[in-house]
């Protein structure tokens, strides 16, 4: 089930729900915070969301992934608030009988998430400045 969380993402729980006896492939995608952007050192990322609409959009991505690809299970959790470097801001877990569909669905979910979910990322730099990351028009 799609989730937004202020705490660290519980990857183990996501993965436990995805592993099924009829599936041969599980793909876990973790989007992690990088410590540099355009040559500047990033101390922290922070995310905010229009939560009700973002949750609905994530749930729709999960459903569409199962309709468009031969996958049995798709679940997305996005973290909000401050995310320190190397921690995951988003985790997508997909399971399928065969790996080809699992790779395609996972990639599709991440591509769509970047354009269809009202979430915004702000970078805080070592020099004290911070800025909203250039985004994609919501569709």
């Amino acid at each position: 089930m799609a989730e937004l969380t202020l705490a660290a993402i519980d990857q183990a729980a996501l993965q436990a729900r995805a592993i099924r006896a009829d599936c041969g492939a599980v793909i876990v995608f973790l989007g992690t915070t990088r410590d540099h952007h355009d040559g500047r050192r990033v101390l922290q990322l922070a995310y905010e969301a229009y939560e009700s609409m973002a949750l609905e959009a994530l749930a729709r991505l999960e459903r569409e992934a199962c309709e468009r690809f031969e996958v049995s299970h798709c679940e997305v959790t996005h973290r909000l608030g401050e995310v320190p470097p190397t921690e995951a801001s988003v985790v997508v877990v997909v399971s399928a009988a065969h790996r080809g569909a699992a790779y395609e669905a996972s990639r599709w979910v991440m591509d769509e998430l970047k354009a269809r979910v009202p979430i915004w990322k702000r970078e805080r730099f070592e020099d004290g400045n911070s800025q909203w990351v250039d985004g994609t028009p919501l569709r």
Binding site: G31, E48, K114, A115, P118, W120, W132
Partner: protein, 81 residues
């Protein structure tokens, strides 16, 4: 006709608030709301062409009629992931 409007990210910072009330004549459209906000906060001008607008959680166009009591949301380009 009244309702609420939510601001996010850069839009929230430009408006200096996370939300506001709107109060516009019957028959007003989304673009009328945007124009009235820009009149009071000219700083949002550069952002305006890049905004998406949701009404009650669904994306709407600039010429969509406002519904009484609706929750609007002004959404700058998104950067989740």
């Amino acid at each position: 006709m009244q309702g609420k409007v939510l601001f996010f990210a850069q839009m929230r910072e430009q408006m200096g608030a996370a939300s506001a009330a709107w109060d516009l004549p019957e028959g007003s459209r989304v673009r009328d709301l945007l124009a009235s906000l820009e009149a009071s906060h000219p700083g949002i001008g550069p952002l305006r062409p890049h905004l998406a607008v949701a009404m009650n959680g669904e994306l709407v166009r600039a010429d969509t009629m406002l519904a009484a009591g609706a929750e609007l949301a002004l959404l700058p380009p998104v950067s989740g992931g």
